[in-house]
Symmetry: C2
Subunit: 441 residues, 2 copies
């Protein structure tokens, strides 16, 4: 509870890249932020792991602590901003803060994806806000727009490029024809990919973000472990070249869609028509396209990560939390749209199996360069009710008597495609199935 005359005090958990940006902004733009909130906003304490580490000289030593209780147990701290990442101890810190009646702002996608509904329940019980714009899309205000401005819509789908690391890698493979390994190394050298890139390249990071977006879009809990994930490491530079010839870009997509009460949610590289706006999202940029019953397609494009864009999102939420404190000094936050509006926040909507997906496919096969090969493959696909839209033969290799076939299908059932491919790969004339990619029109 804040008295009319009190300052609004912020406790910050974490002083890494984003934490440094938030701390600097709170210290250097304090007047501006306070004016926007309508009350003096002060950074009171910052939790760090290592107090001895050298810091920006603008950050006074008296602000630093290694004891989380100095923030969590301080009733004079009204808003907690968490940018430490990971589930432990972050989840516990957030729960303690909400239970203590603090408004919480977090950038933590993993905690939100896994424990968002519980945290939101706790926030409601305690009459405080849980705000997490920074958890998806960096400086792109997609979270708030789904929770507020676009709320009148029945959301039909969300298509996003929400992992900058993989988008950078695929962009380099497409534009500079580098291999996946080279592009990943470049991304690591530039600081766009971590030393262990698994979370990004296997789609785990995008899966957390998609779980959050899908939950907001469909007003039900969508569990991240239910989301289909396919990484990008099987892609080769020539896939981009063939896709381009066929009129497509290959992008790392995260897709959630709702039809007839069933949710599809999947993260995988996909072919997108070159004319589509998402095909033009390059490098570390992110974009999210929302399709709603009234708004139609609305696309958001911007920097999905990094110190400044993420700071923009965290500070936007801090200002929002500050305004709520000013206008509701006794709590009782406005209703939030976190799933569901009615009933238990534990109410989960299952994600349909990828087996039931209807999609067009791009298929690249290494085959013997001899007559009749295509007939054998086409027979199997036809038996599986998969009709071929086009076939291109590529890269005949006379030394190995092999050739490369690129097949584009008409819409077909994922389960049939997978089943048919298992048969295709057993053909003597088929050396390898190099890639199977979905096409989003």
């Amino acid at each position: 509870m804040v008295e009319e005359s009190d300052d609004i005090n912020v406790g910050l958990l974490g002083l890494g890249v984003v934490g440094g940006g938030v701390a600097t902004a709170l210290l250097e733009q304090s007047d501006d932020i306070s004016r926007k909130v309508g009350r003096r906003v002060k950074l009171k304490k910052i939790l760090v792991r290592d107090a001895a580490k050298p810091r920006d000289p603008g950050i006074a030593a008296s602000l630093i602590t290694t004891n989380p209780e100095e923030i969590l147990a301080d009733p004079g701290i009204h808003i907690l901003a968490e940018v430490i990442g990971g589930t432990d101890p972050a989840t516990r810190f957030l729960k303690d803060a909400l239970a203590a009646g603090k408004h919480v702002v977090t950038a933590n996608k993993e905690v939100l994806a896994k424990s968002g509904p519980e945290l939101m329940s706790l926030a409601k019980q305690n009459g405080v806000s849980l705000l997490f714009e920074a958890s998806v899309g960096g400086g792109i205000p997609i979270v708030g727009c789904l929770m507020n401005q676009l709320l009148a819509n029945d959301i039909q789908s969300v298509h996003g490029i929400i992992n900058g690391t993989t988008n950078y890698i695929l962009t380099r493979m497409a534009q500079a024809h580098t291999s996946f390994t080279q592009a990943l190394q470049e991304a690591q050298e530039l600081g766009y990919a971590e030393a262990d890139p698994t979370n990004d390249i296997e789609g785990i990071d995008a899966g957390y973000k998609l779980a959050i977006l899908a939950s907001l879009a469909f007003h039900r809990r969508v569990n991240p472990e239910d989301i289909f994930l396919q990484g990008i490491s099987s892609l080769e530079a020539k896939d981009f070249q063939y896709a381009q010839e066929l009129g497509y870009a290959i992008k790392p997509l995260a897709i959630a869609s709702m039809s007839n009460g069933a949710v599809q949610a999947r993260v995988h590289p996909a072919l997108i028509p070159l004319g589509h706006m998402l095909a033009k999202v390059d490098g570390v940029y992110n974009a999210v396209e929302v399709t709603g019953s009234l708004c139609g397609n609305v696309l958001f494009h911007g920097m999905g990560a990094g110190r400044e864009p993420t700071t923009s999102a965290v500070l936007g939420d801090l200002i929002e939390a500050g305004r709520r404190l000013v206008s509701h000094p006794n709590g009782s936050s406005p209703p939030m749209s976190w799933p569901p509006e009615n009933g238990s926040s534990e109410e989960t909507i299952g994600v349909s199996s990828i087996d039931g997906l209807q999609s067009k496919y791009y298929l690249r096969l290494n085959v013997s360069d001899q007559p009749g090969v295509l007939a054998q493959i086409a027979k199997i696909l036809g038996d599986g009710n998969i009709s071929i839209a086009s076939v291109i033969q590529k890269d005949a290799d006379p030394d190995n008597q092999s050739a490369e076939l690129v097949i584009i299908t008409h819409p077909a059932l994922e389960a049939s495609v997978q089943e048919s491919l298992r048969k295709v790969v057993e053909l003597n004339v088929v050396k390898e199935v190099n890639n199977l990619l979905r096409i989003e029109e």
Copy 2:
């Protein structure tokens, strides 16, 4: 004031295209909207001009009135939604509603551009909200994002394609090589342009919208009459062809920028590099790119007009107003970012004259096809400190002994360019200056 047990009642002014969408949604999706608000929301009365006009059978005759006082003077109506457009009587209706303590949602760009700050003061005095997401960009949530999610940023510029009519016309001229007149006629036949298209093609509509965006971005009042407007009717199909050859698209831009405390605000067709996202915004689509100190470039793209997208924005604001009623039954709305946060809402920031603009220019001239012409033109431009980046000679016409010159300049001062062109046009060898367009990099 709403009692805990009361319904939230909405009065709607206008039952045209958008009004019909709003009414239908309030009637047909009442349960959904009420759940999102947290209280029953009801459409209580609709003001129309002609009660005898046939209506959608879903709209009961008892809802219709031709007497504005049945809405404005009814204390049982808590939220007013205005979609009649124009300044009179809309401005008066909005003032009366705010003064009577009603929350107001409006799609009226002209009223907001001309009287926004006064209306906002009135809203604050009466502890109610004035929400106007639908006034700019249809289904694109740009207004709310500038007022909320992006609020931590110092906004450096806003670049928008915020008039769908002109974007449709220019897109047709670029893609189908039609003349301006033909493209306008097409737009009229499709209902994208009005019978009198002046407001759109002369940039007046975009000027109102830009005044709103600039006021939100820079936290000062920006008067629409201070904004430089240049229409699109001087463009010819060949300008698009030449621009394309030079690597540019021509788009109807609205630009507001702030540097060193000075605001530039202008609406005109401009050349944009083909690789830029705004160059890819085609047809009736709108887009707005915001450049902020923290978020970097964030682009919003979507349907900028039409029944459903505008209804999405109006309903989003209605839900927001409803939630504020639920959480603040006694008024005292949260602070708003409408200019300025402190001081008088009349505080205006002047717009710098277009004369002071530094820009690259595209110049198309009809000249005599004889030696030495370029030398004479280049001399005048050079004397005006305008340096030429490239020249292409086009469309020599032997019958008239004339040729067309397309000149691209390096950055130069607008006043010098205008002054030099007045001299160029006096040269005997120059028949006509066909077009002068600014280039946005």
